[in-house]
Symmetry: C2
Subunit: 351 residues, 2 copies
Amino acid sequence: MDPALGALGEFGLIDLIRGRVRAHSPGTVRGIGDDAAVLGVGSAPVLATLDMLLEDVHFQRAWGRPRELGRKTLAVNLSDIAAMGGEPLFALLGLGVPTEEIRLAELEAFLAGLEEEAAASGVTLVGGDTCRSRSGLVLSLALLGRALPPGPVLRSGARPGDSLYVTGNLGAAAAGLLALERGIRPGNAWPDVLLRPAWLGGPEEAVVREAMEHHLAPVPRLAAGRALAGVASAMIDVSDGVASDAGHLCRESGLAALIFAARIPIHPGASVMGRLLGQDPLALALSGGEDYELLFTAATDPAPALAAAVPGLAVSRIGEMQAGAPSVRLLGTDGTVAPLRPGFDHFRGGP
Amino acid sequence: MDPALGALGEFGLIDLIRGRVRAHSPGTVRGIGDDAAVLGVGSAPVLATLDMLLEDVHFQRAWGRPRELGRKTLAVNLSDIAAMGGEPLFALLGLGVPTEEIRLAELEAFLAGLEEEAAASGVTLVGGDTCRSRSGLVLSLALLGRALPPGPVLRSGARPGDSLYVTGNLGAAAAGLLALERGIRPGNAWPDVLLRPAWLGGPEEAVVREAMEHHLAPVPRLAAGRALAGVASAMIDVSDGVASDAGHLCRESGLAALIFAARIPIHPGASVMGRLLGQDPLALALSGGEDYELLFTAATDPAPALAAAVPGLAVSRIGEMQAGAPSVRLLGTDGTVAPLRPGFDHFRGGP
């Protein structure tokens, strides 16, 4: 065990966390230091979500970016609140520490990243649980927020004839993950001449590195989500991949979706990694997951509201909702229509 | 992988959970099936807590009691809400599934136990996260509730001269854990003649079996906590052991505590296991942890309020709060006073 971590002990770590956490949201009556946090949320509906990140499943500690991991632990939950058009307020952190493997400095960097993301999003860490883990770093975060008028945007509100939109572009996280898995590291030189064909120049490398950053520290679309609260009829964040997540919208709304392959905004990093590894960039964009963009339906053009709230954020009309049994089909660039298979299933593996 | 689990897949498991969950609390606007749950809590302060249970750290799956594990996953969080004198309402479950090791039937029994405890406590499971785990069953549960008048009971409210009380008795969970670790199993015959001295008869065996049940499925003191909301000046649940948990009360209240060894209500199972293994039953009771009784301070006798709310629940005056730097000391049966060392520290082991 890192002597610094051993000297600190569990309750020392809690004190360390408590000493570094600042209030970034109103309403904390009682934060870290009691059996439960006491929170003033007012009378608006409370939004609540919980996500887990497990070492060797969701991330590799060997990638060596604990600060980004701290950011991401909160960001993936912020993305859920964004997809409701809500305002995040309070977080509870579950931290299972592999005491025999981890250094205190790594934990401190993780906590600094978490606090950084909390400050950026107006969230206060108000409690949680720490324990020893025998099997890697275990991260669990519950996030509470509140719905904003005109009310939370559910997955179930889509209507036949609504268009299907997505913010930003897709496939960056999947491409970034492929790059990381092949030993490409942020900040390090491109590792292997075998992975460096003649066509892969500086601009191609730059977009792959951007994709890696997107995987390591995704940017939750909070402002976009709020701006869309009065426009979107249904909304979800892209965590499992558009193919799966559009399926969720369809099931909850009782509709079918037709997605236009030609309209998918493929991240340039996905195009590069696809070419490099002989994979279809469109498949990376549709099934890769973890992009944390917003996928939503609307009857009117959302671009003006989005442009006003988040200047420069792209939004693409990628399909439409149709009456019919829940299903997601893809209209290919060749004019054929085929069922779109889902993305990542944690139990079955990958797309 | 269990073929039944493989056939179900991750989203099938979520559908299975969703199909079995019932609403046991008012206010669920939107439960499982969206990016975040939407909850009506009213304008009372929200109570929020999160606990984790990790395989091989908090429990052994080999003990073969998944239903009790489901109950406990919620119960340890209910205990936190009880210690605030509050009302539990909504739970979010994080479930990391060791897909290569676990059978679907075991997961179903776990979920049945969780739902059983939810029904008993008026809690609705409204969301969470499922994923694959490469390293054992990972359980994380966040529980939301609300404070009841006259307001939440904090750890910080003790005053000099208050008495220190505990509900029920202590050491049962520690004794039960010792029994489980030595191969004694609920429902099975006592395993080893070496562990069966002549003095250990039917009554002794019965109290050890009771202690095992207490470890496997602790009973949160919700009704007692509510009854104490108008009586207790400070309160905490006994999760780390009285020695540690009294220390938390002292630190948050800025007081010292003197605990009377002669007044500690030792569970008879702790006396038996202590005698069997040559350990001090008082140490098991003070440092063992996981009893999930309520430890609280009060200026007036809490027995009438408790007797009215929870007939038959014992309450013991085990010490007093004194002005002075935060510390916990033990007045021994021989009249000596010595610092009481803390109980379990997840990073250091213990007690």
